[in-house]
């Protein structure tokens, strides 16, 4: 049986489907009987989802204006 520290160490490989079938089964058999590891796996999954939602962000107005100026220049008919 894996330890909880093993589960922590392997969680990314598990989620990326990079463990061998035997390793994946050992991982799952531990998680199934370990409440904190169940919570931890859910946290790891949620972390990835939340990080994926970080995309949109505000630029500084000066930078945005500068880039938009450049875009307008490019777009201007010669």
């Amino acid at each position: 049986m894996l330890t909880c520290a093993d589960v922590v160490k392997l969680v990314t490989q598990y989620m990326e489907a990079e463990l061998s079938p035997d390793e994946a089964r050992s991982f799952e058999e531990h998680v199934a009987i370990c409440p904190p590891c169940r919570a931890f796996l859910g946290q790891a999954r949620r972390t990835v989802e939340l990080t994926g939602e970080l995309k949109e962000t505000d630029l500084s107005p000066e930078v945005e204006e500068h880039l938009l100026d450049a875009f307008r220049d490019w777009n201007r008919p010669a």
């Binding site: 904190p36 939340l50 990080t51 995309k55 930078v63 880039l67 220049d73 490019w74």
Partner: protein, 215 residues
């Protein structure tokens, strides 16, 4: 990632001079581009200049872009070229593979050892409570405060971890493309991604523990 159909539309808008489309593109990619550029060059200010230079190059070449690769791949290729040129000028050209290997060294599993029993019949098992997040009201996990804390944690990561999590989890690139783009080994990519994710996980955990929960 912008879906393929959406990307065709976006490209047509850009090539016809649609300013708001360009604004959206810049807004979506600039933060991750800055994090990626910081893997190549020593300081944030330089990375920001590199990203600006990249966008100017993108604007200049848009008319010639034929869509053989995805728009995103094309933009990040230009970014990589600008960043490498800049790194050479700054004489800071440590190979990425080497930086990645250094950051992936050691036996840090991503959660500090004081969360586990260190001896006895429970050795290696959680000694602390790990809470489920699935019963939290969604707005707690979508708050601006939490986003800011997560971004701060990502920006404070070692440079290769930061670049890897930006490309994998923010930009949603597959692992093999990230390895090829950064020129790092897959095994190291995985360790860097794991450690970066675990740091962000701990940041979310701290945020949830410290902020008040509704009763």
């Amino acid at each position: 990632m912008i879906e393929a159909d959406g990307e065709q539309l976006l490209l047509r808008q850009l090539q016809s001079g649609d300013e708001s489309a360009f604004g959206v593109l810049v807004g979506i990619h600039t933060p991750s581009m800055t994090r990626v550029a910081m893997a190549f060059v020593p300081r944030r200010a330089i990375a920001e200049e590199v990203v600006q230079e990249t966008w100017l190059n993108v604007v200049r070449s848009l008319g010639a872009f034929e869509g053989r690769s995805s728009l995103r791949t094309w933009i990040f290729t230009i970014l990589g070229n600008c960043a490498k040129r800049r790194a050479e000028q700054e004489q800071r050209m440590v190979p990425m593979a080497e930086l990645a290997a250094q950051e992936a060294g050691g036996d840090d599993i991503g959660v500090s050892a004081d969360h586990f029993f260190d001896a006895g019949r429970w050795q290696g098992m959680w000694s602390t409570v790990i809470r489920r997040w699935d019963d939290l009201p969604e707005q707690r996990l979508l708050s601006g405060e939490l986003r800011a804390a997560m971004l701060e944690a990502i920006d404070a990561l070692p440079r290769m971890q930061r670049a890897v999590i930006a490309l994998r989890d923010i930009e949603d690139w597959p692992a093999d493309e990230v390895c090829e783009y950064l020129g790092i080994l897959d095994g190291n990519q995985r360790i860097l991604l794991h450690r970066a994710r675990m740091t962000v996980r701990a940041t979310i955990e701290r945020y949830l523990e410290s902020s008040e929960r509704p009763c």
